[in-house]
Amino acid sequence: MSEPEPLSGPHVLEYTYKRSVGPVLGRFFTGLRDGRIEGVKTAGGRVLCPPMEHDPATGEATTDQWVEVGPGGEVKTWTWIAQPRKQHPLQKPFAFALVQLDGADSALLHAVDAGDEGRMSSGMRVKARFAEERSGRIEDIACFEPEDA
């Protein structure tokens, strides 16, 4: 008796979501749309960027004091993506990096378009490259690039 052919059938699962970002990230995204990166101050005076509703160190709400940060900053740590996939922010080799923007005390995860892995190092200076068309999303920062580029 020959092996039966296994059953196979199509199954496409699509499910859509939307986000209510709240007052803090709402202000941050609005700033990005206008080409401005902002951090929020904690009660202890630290500047968080990306901003958060609550200070992770204390659990207390952050303040309503906002500070413009960047567009330059420093790479704290990074990883190289040699073969980007369709969903990645850049369609050529790039780095994912934690970037501490000038004036901020925390780091933002974003892409760095350095061209070559050899140019990447912790401590390197980068600056934000804004997208030409912006709509209040994290992609409004197209990526970061080396400051000396």
Binding site: H11, T16, K18, S20, G22, M52, E53, H54
Partner: protein, 385 residues
């Protein structure tokens, strides 16, 4: 249990169809801050946090407890997530209570939530898998045949469900946090509302809500020191069974029967109808009130509908059920179970406001989930057990 556990704080959000004014973080924080305020405590007083919500698919954030931790003061503290579908709000409270009862933590904050406006949970679990039987009709489509089954077995009058809906919607008018409020609710209004899944009418159905609930649980020593009167946890129980197996009775699931039996045994209760003063029971479709009355042993088999009919479950009846307006009026899925548990605690603390049952000393909170397969329950009392 080794240690006693007291509910010293209860908090909930303003529930609504769309809380677009807040993020998920803002939503849970609103409930948690109210619970802490009720307990007269601060974030630093909390030893551990237990978070619950229905499946991650509902908002599309995998393991949201990780990003919520910072906003719940969890940094450097133990944090635990509980998963048991729609019963999760109850199970989460049970897990939190067990941490206190076991003497592991002295003060636990527990939070449950759902932000249904971020997606469409009604259809989230109605997936059509190739070669499998599928409902694709939402929760109501799943439960309607079970209700028909109950009607056939019990011979309950066709309008029993309408009466439950009118009662719960009237109760919701007395609850400032309730989502759905129909000021002129009447039998005729429910009866004439569209039939969604025969025999379930539109006004016999729960809404989709955004909301959260939070409780602060303390050890006996700390609860004794709290300014407001605690609700003492007398017993907790959880049971589950598979969605389908040969001979499964989905109308009157064995897991629910067993869970209630264990709950009463632990609490020393032999006649629940007489000994329990009021109950918050998970009723997402009106007919589940009489069905659960039987499953939980408050009524003989086939007799549950009479409790509704005779007004026993009304706010002034001998066993008021869903004084808050229940799941029929407010359904942030993950939080719905904890709201039942929290409302039960409010009753025995005497803090339920307009929907307070006078002199309530012992109250039950109940939650179920999945295809009537997960159960969690607790009994709380004004006095120590």
């Amino acid at each position: 249990m080794a240690e006693l556990c007291g509910v010293v704080g209860v908090g909930q959000t303003q529930h609504d169809a769309k809380r677009e004014d807040v993020s998920q973080v803002g939503l849970i924080r609103e409930a948690a801050e109210r619970a802490l305020e009720d307990a007269d405590l601060d974030w630093k007083d909390i030893d551990a946090v237990v978070i619950g919500k229905a499946p991650d698919l509902f908002e599309g954030v995998m393991m949201p407890e990780l990003f919520l931790a910072d906003s719940l003061g969890c940094a450097g503290k133990p944090m635990l997530r509980v998963h048991t579908a729609g019963s999760v709000g109850g199970s989460t409270a049970v897990v939190a209570a067990s941490l206190v009862e076991a003497g592991i933590h002295d003060r636990v904050l527990t939070v449950a939530y759902e932000k249904q406006s971020e997606s469409n949970a009604m259809w989230a679990l109605s997936i059509k898998i190739p070669f499998s039987a599928t409902v694709v009709a939402g929760a109501g489509g799943y439960f309607a045949p079970l209700i028909r089954g109950y009607m056939m077995r019990s011979g309950a009058p066709e309008d029993t469900g309408i009466r439950v809906a009118v009662k719960d919607r009237e109760n919701a008018l007395k609850n400032p946090y309730a989502h759905l409020k129909f000021p002129d609710i009447s039998f005729e209004q429910v009866e004439s509302s569209p039939m969604l899944w025969d025999p379930i009418r539109f006004l016999e159905t729960c809404p989709s809500s955004d909301g959260a609930c939070a409780l602060v649980l303390s050890s006996e020593k700390l609860a004794d020191q709290s300014k407001k009167k605690p609700a003492w946890v007398h017993s907790t129980a959880m049971r589950s069974e598979p969605t389908s197996f040969a001979g499964r009775d989905q109308v009157n699931p064995q897991a629910g029967i067993d869970c209630a039996k264990e709950l009463y045994k632990k609490a020393g209760i032999t006649d629940p109808r007489k000994e329990i003063d009021c109950a918050e029971i998970y009723v997402p479709f009106s007919w589940f009130e009489p069905m659960w009355m039987e499953n939980l042993g408050f009524a003989e088999l086939g007799q549950g509908w009479k409790m509704t009919y005779e007004g026993a479950t009304a706010l002034d009846g001998d066993l008021p059920v869903n004084m808050s307006g229940g799941v029929l009026s407010t359904n942030p899925i993950g939080a719905s179970g904890m709201l039942r548990f929290g409302e039960a605690a409010m009753q025995v603390r005497g803090t339920a406001g307009e929907h307070q049952v006078a002199g309530a000393r012992k109250a039950m909170g109940h939650a179920y989930g999945g295809g009537s397969q997960y159960f969690s329950m607790w009994i709380v009392g004004a006095e120590k057990p």
